[in-house]
């Protein structure tokens, strides 16, 4: 049995680790709440732009925007959303696994795949994996802003316009509740048609300036809002996954401490017994 002193120092170090994980849990909890608020704050915009797009789909458009036209698929792009930091359980790995599964399916159909990455973890994963990466954005922090994402979005939409990619998907974690986050794949381009209800049948907007430019502006913003939504949802998922991971780490540390404490008590008791036996034995020899 290890000496009592060694066990004591081990207990101390586990206790320190537990302090850290517990602090991280608390931090993640408060950050998660804020991230959830931001998620809720972004929802009205997404709803409104969806409504506008629905109206647009019903208006008599004399022009079809490339973003709404389905093409034959020769090359697809995946926008992979991940976190910047680790220690959040299997969150990022789940997303990557989903991407790899999809990639295998496309490759089986002889379709090329390229990637655009958001978050450090995706960058380091795809560096190891290989594959063509056309754009990336990292260090978004806990409150990502739309302007940090515009570059990546622009690269993808430009490539889509050129015809060098025919479909764009976004893969991110969907925040279901604190305990569950689900990796989901959404089609970003071409934009899936939105239905709307309750408007007259034959009408069109007055456009100022040209309808083509405006439609382009609305669709661009729609794509941007979808990406933004996915990114902030991923932040909320990251925080809640970290919270859960850190909670189980603290619990495990508690269990280890209990075990060590028991071992320590036994070692101490054994030491006392031994000493007593020695004293008694010594006294008997003298007497």
């Amino acid at each position: 049995m290890a000496g009592a002193k060694e066990i004591r120092s081990k207990i101390k170090s586990v206790k320190n680790t537990q302090k850290i994980t517990r602090a991280m849990e608390k931090v993640a909890m408060s950050k998660m709440r804020k991230a959830q608020d931001r998620m809720a704050a972004a929802r009205p915009y997404a709803e409104k732009i969806r409504r506008t797009l629905g109206h647009l789909a019903q208006a008599n458009l004399e022009y079809k925007h490339p973003f709404t036209v389905e093409r034959e698929v020769k090359r697809v792009a995946y926008l992979v959303v991940s976190s910047d930091r680790g220690l959040c359980g299997g969150l990022n790995m789940n997303v990557f696994r989903t991407v790899l599964r999809e990639v295998r399916e496309w490759r089986a159909k002889n379709v090329d795949v390229e990637f655009a990455l958001i978050g450090n973890k995706a960058v380091s994963f795809f560096k190891r994996m290989g594959g063509k990466v056309s754009a990336m954005a990292t260090h978004l922090g806990d409150r990502p802003h739309l302007d940090q994402l515009l570059g990546v979005i622009k690269v993808l939409t430009d490539a889509y316009r050129d015809g060098s990619i025919d479909r764009v998907f976004i893969v991110s974690n969907q925040f279901i509740n604190t305990m569950t986050q689900k990796p989901t794949v959404q089609q970003l381009l071409p934009v899936e048609p939105v239905k709307s209800e309750g408007l007259l049948e034959h009408w069109d907007y007055l456009y100022e300036p040209a309808s083509t430019e405006l439609l382009d502006a609305v669709l661009m913003r729609y794509v941007e809002s979808q990406v933004y939504q996915a990114v902030i949802e991923n932040v909320a998922s990251e925080q809640s996954a970290r919270m859960v991971a850190m909670k189980s780490a603290s619990d495990n540390a508690g269990k280890i401490i209990n075990g060590l404490q028991l071992a320590y008590n036994k070692a101490r008791q054994a030491g006392i017994t031994k000493e007593l036996a020695e004293i008694v034995g010594g006294a008997a020899a003298v007497g």
């Binding site: 409104k48 109206h55 754009a135 100022e208």
Partner: protein, 141 residues
């Protein structure tokens, strides 16, 4: 008189929603005033002030840094931009993202910097004007 419903939202938050008698917005081709039963209209906004006259009480003012205005006969939607938008600034952002992917170090081109600075200046000027207008009106009453 009928009222018109107005929603002002930006990508990062909800700004205002309610009824109005009249709404004024800084459209790209000049300021537009929208009364109920306006014909459907879709236009871009430039940085400036959206003014809302509610059925009762004082006029409300909101600063927008550009965006999109959609008008239906009884519904006005302002999709405000939070990000600074200028074509060249977007190009610069795209370039930066590409460069990060290629892991190359290269300074942004100076004309792009200039375009971004100009866009920032226009927005800052509009913001300043808005603040001054509010100051003046509060002094007047």
């Amino acid at each position: 008189m009928a009222n018109i419903h107005i929603d002002i939202v930006s990508a990062e938050g909800h700004i205002h929603s309610g009824e109005a008698r009249m709404v004024f917005a800084p459209a790209e081709m000049g300021e537009v005033g929208i009364a109920p039963r306006h014909a459907p209209l879709l236009t871009r906004l430039k940085p400036g002030t959206v003014r809302v006259q509610p059925p009762e009480g004082e006029e409300l003012q909101f600063f927008v840094g550009g965006g999109i205005l959609e008008v239906q006969p009884f519904l006005v939607t302002v999709l405000a931009d939070t990000a600074l938008r200028a074509k060249d600034a977007d190009e610069a952002a795209a370039l930066a993202a590409k460069q990060a992917a290629e892991e190359k170090l290269a300074g942004a081109k100076s004309d792009i910097d200039l375009a971004r600075a100009q866009a920032e200046l226009i927005e800052a000027a509009a913001r300043l004007q808005f603040v001054q207008k509010i100051k003046n009106s509060s002094r007047g009453t």
